[in-house]
Amino acid sequence: MHGHLTYDEFLASISGFLCSYYLAVAVMNGLFAVYQWKVNGNQRLAVVWSVVGLVCVIMGGIVSSGDAGMISYVSVPDSIKNMIDAAMMPVTYSLGTLAILFALFITREYWVKPNMAWLGLNLMLIFMGLSIADVDFAAIVMKPDNVPIVGLIFLLAFFTWLATYKAVENDRRIAQGELPLEAIDNEKVLVWPDLVYTELICMVGLTAFLLLWAIVLQAPLEEPASSVKTPNPSKAPWYFLGLQEMLVYYDPWMAGVMLPNMVVAGLMAIPYIDFNKKGNGYYTINERKFAYLTFQFGFLVLWITLIVMGTFLRGPNWNFFGFYETWDAHKVQAMNNVDLSQLFWVDLLHQPLPRPDPADPFLIKTLIIFKREVIGILGLIGYFAILPPLLAMKEKRLFQPLYRRMGLIRYMVMANLFLWMATLPIKMLARWTMDMKYFISIPEYFINF
C-alpha cells in the first residue's frame, strides 16, 4: 500500500492519526481513573490510571512530531520485530493463540476483575500503537477492508470479557447456593420506556458511528476487473478466509464444501444435542463446561483465529508472513509434503507405491487403489465408526457419562460432529510434525482427504 512512499512520508501520513489515537487512549484512561476515584473510592488505582493516561499524552506528543528518530522511541524496536517475525509460523501462531486462550480460561476468575481487564485492553491498544509506525504492520491493519477485522478483535475481546465476568460471578453465587444474578430483581417492567428507549439510544449511537466511519474511511475501489490480471494473493472476502486457510490442509471439496456444510449442520444441531437443562437464560461456565469449551474451541480458536491469520498473515502465494514482514512475492517456502500412502509403502515397507494401470478395468483399478490407500481408509473408518463407541465404553470416563444421558442416536451425532471438528487440528498437527499431505489420496477420483 505504501510502496511508493518514503518512510518519512509514510510517518507524516500517519502521525496525525496516531497522535489522536494516543489521545483517545489517554482520555479513556482518564475517565477510568475518575471512575475509580469517584465511584469506587480507590485513590491508588485512580493515580495509576491517570499516570497511564499521562504517558499516553506524552506518546501522542512524540508521535505528532512525525520525526523518524522521535517515533522510533515509541515503536517496537527492530530487534524485537525481527524476533517476532522469525518466531511466527502457522504452528507457533495457532498453538500460541490456543495456549493464550486456554490460560485465560483457567485464570478467568483473576483477569475478569475490571482492573485486570482494563490492563489487558491497554496492553492491546498500546501494542497496536507501538506497531503501527511499522510500514508492513500498518499496511495490513489499515487496509480499508481489514479495519472491520481489527474492530472484530476488540469487540470479541470486550464481549468475551463481559460474558466471562458475569459467568464467573454467577458461578460463584451458584456454588454458594444463591440464584444467578439474572434471576434477581427480575420482575416484569413495561417495554415503553424501559426497552424502547434503550433501542432508540442504540440506534442513534450506531447511526452516528456509521456516519463517522463512512466519512473517515473511503470504501475501497481497485482497478477495473480484469480476468487476465490475477492479483497475488487472491483472497476471498474476509469472513470466508477461515475456509480459504483450510485449503492449506484440505482439498477444495473438503475445505469449501463439506466442512462449511458440517459447520452449518453442527450449529443447527447444537440445541438438539445439548441435553443439559442448566444454564438456560443466564451466563455460566461451570454448569456447562463441555458445551462451553467445545463451542469456544470451534468459534474462537478455529473460526476467528483462522480468519485473523488468513487476513493479516497470509501474503503472496498464500505464504505466511509475520506482523512486521514485507509481503515479498518471491518468498519461497519449502513444500515437500508427502501422503500417508507414500510414508507407509515407500518409507516404511520399502516397496514401490501400488499404481493402477489406466487401462485396467474399473474393479481392478479400484482394488489397487484401495490397497495403496488401505492404511488411510481403515484409519478413517476407525476414526468415525469405532472411536465413538470406544470413547463411550470406558466406565465413568471420557464420553461415557454423556452417552448414558444422551442415548445412542444423539450420542453418535454429537460424537461424529465433534470428530469432524477435530479433523482440522489433527490435520494441522500431522502437517506440522510429519509434513503429511493427505491421509487418503485418490487423485484418480478427485478424492483427497
Binding site: 469487540l155 427480575n186 415503553w192 426497552l195 474511511l217 475501489l221 482439498d251 471439496w253 443447527m268
Partner: protein, 258 residues
C-alpha cells in the same frame, strides 16, 4: 394558550396518524405498544433482566437495524448503479467522485461488514446465555439460516463494484463449488454421473456454472449476483426475520432463568 406540543397532539391530523394519546402514564404506555404498528413487534411488558443491555448486548436489535440501514442505502444505490460490465465500475466511480453526499457506498459497505460482525456477536451471546435451550431450539435454527443469508448477502454484494477486488474474491470463493461432491466437475464422484460415456457434470453444467451462469465470473455472473443480492436473498431474509421475531414472542420472550 396551551403549550404548542399539546396543540399539535390534539390536532385532528396528529390523532388520525397516531391512534393513541402520548405515552405518559401507565395506561397509555401499554396502549402505545398495542396500537402502534412498529412497536407492536414488542410485548407490552418484559422481564427486567431479560431486556438489560448487559444481558442481550442489544446485538440482535443492532443486527436488525443494520439490515434496515442496508435496505435503505441499498435502494438508494440502485438508483445510480447498472449491473452490466459496461457500466458497473464507472457507475461506482461516478458515485464516489461526482454524486453529492458521496458516502452512500461507504455507509452500505461498512454497514455490511458491521452486520456480519454483529450477527456473529449475537450468536455468541445467545450461545453464552444458553438461550437456544428449550423452548427456543427452533429459533436458533432459524438464526443459523439467517447467519448464512447474511454471509451470502455480503458475498453477492462484493462482486457488484466490478473491480479487481470484486471479481477475484468471487472467483476464489466460487471455485470451491467446482469441487462439490458429485455436483462439481472436479468433485469426487462426478465422473460416475455419466450416461453412455458422456459426462453429465462438466464445467458447463456443474454447481459452479449454476452459481456463476458461466464458466468464469462474467456478465452473466454479475446479473445473477445482482438479482440475488438485491431481490432474492433480502426477501428470504425478511421473511425469516419476521418468523424469528414472531418466535421470540411465542417462545416466551427473551430468555431468563427458569
Amino acid at each position: 394558550m396551551p403549550p404548542i406540543g399539546e396543540i399539535i397532539r390534539n390536532s385532528q391530523i396528529w390523532k388520525s396518524i397516531f391512534r393513541h394519546p402520548a405515552p405518559v402514564d401507565r395506561r397509555n404506555r401499554i396502549v402505545v405498544m398495542l396500537t402502534n404498528f412498529f412497536l407492536h413487534l414488542h410485548p407490552v411488558s418484559a422481564k427486567k433482566q431479560g431486556i438489560a443491555l448487559s444481558y442481550t448486548w442489544c446485538m440482535g436489535g443492532v443486527t436488525f437495524f443494520l439490515f434496515l440501514v442496508e435496505t435503505v442505502t441499498g435502494v438508494l444505490l440502485m438508483f445510480y448503479y447498472r449491473p452490466t460490465i459496461e457500466w458497473a465500475y464507472s457507475d461506482i466511480l461516478v458515485l464516489r467522485d461526482v454524486t453529492s453526499l458521496g458516502i452512500l457506498r461507504e455507509l452500505h459497505r461498512w454497514g455490511a461488514h458491521a452486520m456480519v460482525i454483529t450477527v456473529w456477536l449475537h450468536m455468541y451471546r445467545v450461545f453464552l446465555t444458553g438461550s437456544y435451550k428449550p423452548p427456543r431450539e427452533f429459533n436458533w435454527v432459524l438464526g443459523v439460516i439467517l447467519l448464512l443469508l447474511t454471509l451470502l448477502l455480503s458475498f453477492t454484494g462484493y462482486l457488484l463494484p466490478w473491480d479487481q477486488l470484486a471479481i477475484w474474491a468471487i472467483t476464489v470463493g466460487s471455485n470451491m463449488a467446482r469441487a462439490a461432491p458429485f455436483l462439481g466437475h472436479e468433485g469426487p464422484g462426478s465422473q460416475l454421473l455419466s450416461v453412455g460415456g458422456i459426462d453429465m457434470i462438466t464445467n458447463a453444467s456443474d454447481a459452479r456454472f449454476g452459481l456463476l451462469g458461466a464458466r468464469f465470473v462474467g456478465e452473466e455472473t454479475l446479473n445473477r449476483f445482482y438479482i440475488l443480492h438485491c431481490i432474492a436473498i433480502p426477501l428470504g431474509a425478511a421473511l425469516l426475520l419476521a418468523i424469528h421475531f414472531w418466535r421470540i414472542r411465542k417462545d416466551g420472550g427473551i430468555s431468563s432463568p427458569m
